[in-house]
Amino acid sequence: MKPAPFDLVRPETAEDALDRLHDLGDDARVLAGGQSLVPMLALRLVRFSTLVDISDIAELQGIDVRDGGWIRIGAGTRQSAVEQSPIVNSGVPLLARATPLIGHFQIRNRGTIGGALAHADPAGESPAVALTLDAVMEVRSKTSEWLVPADLFLKGTWTTCLEPDQLLLGVRFPVWGQRSGFAVKEVARRRGDFALVGAMCAVQLNDGNKIARSCITLFGVGATPIRCRAAEKELIGLPFSQVEGLGQLAAAEAEPRDDIHATGSYRRRVAATLVERGIREALDEALYG
């Protein structure tokens, strides 16, 4: 239960980190909060010759409001800081509600939002929120930078578009504004366990109390979280009072498999219920605030 030997370097700036990653190649790995990576190292599921520790790089941390209705969070920001941020609580309610569900407070004191996104656990809350809201990732290498939307960033189980020499610098979440509502619904055996299955719902009403925008995500149902686009489309233009039966439609878009924690059919049945409850809750908030 000890990691295999490695070297550890502690660059002081993001630029230094990128230089290091560029030089070290795919034998190196970024270490942020370590709450996902270090268990894997300890269990020897993975092995790297060098860890590039970015956990103390101040410029990678911070939460601020950007022009055009965006909230930008530095990738190295601790989950506990995200959870407690007044900017996140008022500007990105879905993220504020999902973050306390991540592990336990001790995990959130070290784990970072960027680390959670880069680790891309299929049942992780942070990737699911990013996908639901179409968040945008800021990716950099030594020589280039990109903005990558969540659905292109998340590629598979523990797989993102990040190459070994690239760093996730930050993530931008859109602010939805008035008449919107959000819900996170997940099932886990114990508080803090990975979700067996979860749903995230975001809706926005127009002046006539009809649904103008809707985003529904299921997570824990496949290699990545998925957007239930058919169900989302069904919702558009519906008066809030006529929303029914969307859970089945949403769940049908997922193809969860059996594993040691739950069967695929269980996940699908529960997913339908969670979407029903999530949409109702989000609509209530959109209507009544």
Partner: protein, 158 residues
């Protein structure tokens, strides 16, 4: 991979250790600093027996490497215990409510819950249970631990 010399600040004291990069903070504290109050159990971030305060925040020391610690302040359970040989209010409350049996998980609970109580004024039972969820106990069934936290939060223990 080679050993290096690292300065840790633990319970207010600077300690110099010689460690490999892969040496976890829990192992450095126990083996090199002689502070065996912090326990190593699952060693992969699940059980909480290794909990320490890192810059005042409760964290799992099995998921930190000693070489990451320079520039940070570590407090172990020894640092939360009064130096005169007495018990902190939480430790006294745990004793009173039989919130420990074998005692193996107890330092982790003391550190986690001390941090929790410092940041939460009047926790509900639900919040106390939630705060306990990151530490596993095989012996007690948690009731005595919750009662202890309740008492301390109500100022019933000096």
């Amino acid at each position: 991979m080679d050993e290096q010399v690292v300065e840790l600040t633990v319970n207010g004291i600077t300690m110099v250790v010689r460690v490999e990069p892969r040496t976890t903070l829990v192992d450095a504290l126990r083996d090199q600093c002689g502070l065996t109050g912090t326990h190593a159990a699952c060693e992969h971030g699940v059980c909480g027996a290794c909990t320490v305060l890192f810059d005042g925040q409760a964290v799992r020391s099995c998921l930190l490497f000693a070489v990451q610690s320079p520039g940070h302040e570590v407090v172990t359970v020894e640092g939360l215990t009064p130096s005169d040989g007495g018990l902190s209010p939480l430790q006294e409350a745990l004793r009173r409510h039989h919130g420990l049996q074998c005692g193996f998980c107890t330092p982790g609970f003391v550190v986690s819950l001390t941090a929790f109580l410092a940041g939460t004024k009047s926790p509900t039972d639900e919040e106390i249970l939630d705060a306990c969820s990151g530490n596993l106990c095989r012996c007690t069934g948690y009731r005595g631990i919750v009662r202890a936290v309740r008492d301390v939060s109500r100022g019933l223990v000096e």
